[in-house]
């Protein structure tokens, strides 16, 4: 018996607060490759230079059993302070930054600008035969924009990966003074 496993693949966005120390990213990536988990996107940057915390955002997919494993395995790494499943903990916002270069001529350039305007992409570099657009949005929006640009020119794309945060006033991942001193539920 046991709980019935939900065999459907789900996409999840997980935020992880870690000590900013050498090797921490390798530990997280090694965990995913060593155990065969998917990584769709992974971003990392320091968020609290005083406490020395970095925040990692991982977009992954798997069955509910695998997702639970991923979270438990992450939580058990020694430099990991907190693991949050943004997809299930309430509404959240995802954004990605992309730089898209499109090389084309003639009318297609006008079309590129028109589409960029619609997507609120900014042209940040231009020659007579190319633009570089800067675009932020959720990954779907960026996919759509890139798709359109590919149709009207030769493109080169660089994407920053997904960053995400919960909506609302609730501060779920305390960075400064957030020592969970009396919380015995951390890690494994």
């Amino acid at each position: 018996m046991g709980q019935q496993e939900d065999a459907r693949e789900q996409r999840r966005t997980i935020a992880v607060l870690v000590d900013n120390e050498p090797g921490v990213l390798a530990r997280v990536i090694g965990l995913f490759s060593g155990r065969g988990y998917n990584i769709e996107s992974l971003t990392v940057s320091e968020v609290d230079p005083v406490a020395g915390f970095s925040r990692i955002t991982i977009v992954t997919s798997g069955t509910s059993m695998v997702i639970e494993q991923i979270k438990a395995q992450l939580a058990r790494l020694v430099p990991v302070h907190e693991v949050h499943d943004l997809s299930t903990e309430g509404p959240h916002i995802e954004r990605e930054l992309a730089l898209i270069k499109v090389a084309n001529r003639g009318d297609a350039r006008i079309e590129a600008l028109r589409i960029a305007d619609m997507f609120r992409a900014r042209a940040i570099d231009s020659t007579l035969e190319s633009f570089v657009f800067e675009l932020t949005g959720n990954p779907g929006k960026i996919n759509a924009f890139v798709g359109l640009m590919e149709a009207i020119g030769t493109t080169e794309v660089c994407r920053g990966g997904v960053v995400a945060i919960s909506r609302g006033s609730n501060i779920s991942m305390v960075t400064v003074d957030g020592d969970p001193e009396d919380d015995p539920t951390q890690a494994g």
């Binding site: 709980q3 090797g23 059993m65």
Partner: protein, 595 residues
């Protein structure tokens, strides 16, 4: 910070990195280190020489050092400590570290490293030790500044021992060992993140107890977590089993956590477990897993694993829950703490086992037991391996003994035919299945328990894998007994080839074996040989009487197979009980690919 001993201005005694290492080891209560020197760790060896503060056991190979430390740790409940040099010293330790990770054994391994300014330069004896050991340690550190050294040393012991134990590597560049830095005594751990949960959620405990009380066909399934939790966990399990009268089985890692002589003990479960244990698991309605991890050696084909039971899983590591088998009641916490709460809850609620149902369940179990699945007949003069191992056990029963094993058939027979009454007496490589584990592990056990009887039940092929440690036994006068169940085959490999690969015995014969008697003598020990069943008892007696290390070469029948056996990819109710038990079906394709 313990204020009584620490004045306000924390005294930061300054000393060299090497001295900090030694001081930290002493403050952590370390009394022995298993190691092997080399250029990068010479400052530590110098410090060992001048302070003489910690005993050092010089092994003959770094893999041996880690296994010895594992034997030490498993037989004492303390952290085992290893000291090796950079490069090849560290890479040689990798198998041991992986073994300790898989079996959750607390180890702190100090590795030398080239000086910080040369890291990344392909310097002599440089290896990316933290990179190589990241996946085979619970945690690791590269110490880049002597200022952090004492904190890291203390934290490493904390991380190795707390929660689910495991190996921790500290990589020490040589310049850090020479530099002067502050020494801080062990205080509250520096790291605030690593605080594993030990106290269970009371709601989960109540739910578990209700389920346990409602059971008609219950079974306790205990594992290595009981041993790691400390002897109190085993005591409490025994108490709980006695209160409930429920049948109890243990994994390979858990043997000793419940007394084998108790009639409620069904023996070991899993691939080579007993008929009654595996059928109880298959047919139970409530399974109470305490400190075991639903390993594939235990579950067999997962889709048919105990299909009709509701499952309680007690584990200190949340990542073990729902990993292989979905469970109904997870309880996260330390085994002893959880068991104490369960017993307290059971009493407070006035729970009673359902006697009628339980009596019927026992009747059923006793009928399985009557199959006597471990029976063998020793007839003729050729020694049966089962008989050799059983006789050894009968001769030492009641004595203060510790058993280690190598890996293979002999290991499974030892698990089947020895009876362990207490925890920490049985040391075997379960998760990694490392041939060559048993001899160095026995060495470590003997260092910890100099007066006890320590026996490595070995296969001849495995024994050759770390045989260099005989020299260590000789040097320190460690009277380890190696009981070599010599079938002249990699028996377990031969068995699989016979049963699954059409009898094509590819490269599994152990040709050109040494003369073990002469070998023992050349290393300064005693060699004995038993060729026939008539020799056996005398050889065992003599082995036990000698107070030096002994190699007993027990020539056993060559083609014996280890039963019961659940072929890979099969379910618990598809067990083979003996040579005449034909496999119902050819092993499935899914089964063939399993290890």
């Amino acid at each position: 910070m313990t204020s009584a001993t620490q004045p306000d201005t924390e005294p930061q005694t300054r000393m060299t990195g090497a001295a900090i290492v030694l001081k930290a080891l002493q403050d952590q209560g370390v009394d022995v280190v298993f190691g092997y020197p080399g250029g990068a760790v010479l400052p530590i060896y110098d410090e060992l020489f001048t302070t003489n503060a910690v005993r050092h056991i010089l092994v003959r190979h770094e893999q041996g050092a880690v296994h010895a430390a594992e034997g030490y740790a498993r037989s004492t409940g303390k952290v085992g400590v290893v000291l090796v040099t950079s490069g090849p010293g560290a890479t040689n330790a990798v198998t041991g570290l992986t073994d300790a990770l898989m079996d959750s054994i607390p180890i702190v391994c100090l590795t030398g490293q080239v000086p910080t300014h040369l890291i990344g330069n392909d310097a002599f004896q440089e290896a990316d030790t933290t990179g190589i050991t990241r996946p085979c340690t619970k945690h690791n550190y590269l110490v880049k500044s002597v200022d952090h050294l004492s904190d890291i040393m203390h934290e490493a012991f904390h991380v190795a021992a707390r929660g689910r134990p495991g190996p921790v590597v500290i990589d020490l560049p040589k310049d850090v060992l020479f530099a002067d830095g502050p020494y801080r005594a062990p205080s509250a751990p520096r790291r605030t993140t690593y605080r594993p949960r030990t106290v269970p959620d009371q709601d989960a405990v109540e739910q578990a107890v209700d389920l346990i009380a409602s059971a008609e066909r219950p079974v306790f399934y205990g594992g290595g977590g009981l041993i790691n939790s400390g002897p109190e966990a085993s005591r409490l399990l025994t108490e709980f089993v006695q209160m409930t009268g429920y049948p109890t089985t243990l994994t390979l890692m858990g043997l000793g956590a419940f007394p084998a002589s108790d009639r409620r003990f069904l023996g070991m479960l899993g691939m080579h477990g007993t008929y009654e244990a595996n059928l109880a698991m298959y047919n139970c309605d409530v399974m109470i897993n305490i400190g075991a991890r639903f390993d594939d050696r235990v579950t067999g084909r997962i889709s048919d694993f105990s299909p009709r039971s509701r499952k309680i899983h007690v584990d200190i590591d949340p990542s073990s829950i729902n990993k292989n088998v979905p469970v109904d009641v997870p309880v996260i916490g330390d085994a002893a703490t959880v068991l104490a709460r369960m017993i307290e809850t059971w009493k407070r609620k006035g729970c009673r086992p359902r006697q009628d149902a339980l009596a019927r369940w026992w009747e059923q179990i006793d009928s399985w037991r009557a199959r006597d699945c471990l029976a063998y007949s020793q007839d003729g003069s050729v020694i049966k391996p089962q008989h050799a191992i059983r006789r050894l056990f009968e001769k030492i029963r009641g004595r203060d003994f510790y058993i280690t094993t190598e890996v293979g058939q002999h290991q499974m027979w030892a698990a089947q035919y020895f009876e362990f009454e207490e925890p920490n007496r049985w040391m075997t490589s379960g998760g990694l299945g490392t041939m060559g584990y048993g001899l160095p592990a026995a060495l470590g056990v003997q260092v910890a328990h100099p007066d006890a009887l320590v026996i490595d039940v070995a296969g001849e092929a495995s024994f050759l894998m770390n045989i260099q440690e005989l020299s260590t036994l000789c040097q320190y006068g460690l009277p380890v007994k190696a009981f070599i169940v010599n079938n002249q085959w990699m028996g377990m490999v031969r068995q699989w080839q016979e049963l699954i690969h059409g009898g094509r015995y590819s490269e599994s014969y152990t040709a050109s074996l040494p003369d073990f008697v002469k070998l023992a003598e050349s290393f300064g020990g005693v060699g004995l040989i038993a060729r026939t069943a008539d020799d056996l008892d005398d050889v065992i007696d003599e082995m036990l009487a000698v107070d030096r290390f002994v190699l007993a070469d027990i020539r056993v029948s060559k083609e014996e197979n280890c039963f019961p056996m659940i072929p890979s990819g099969a379910a618990h109710n598809e067990m083979l009980l003996g040579q005449d038990d034909r496999m119902e079906h050819e092993t499935s394709d899914d089964g063939m690919v399993l290890v």
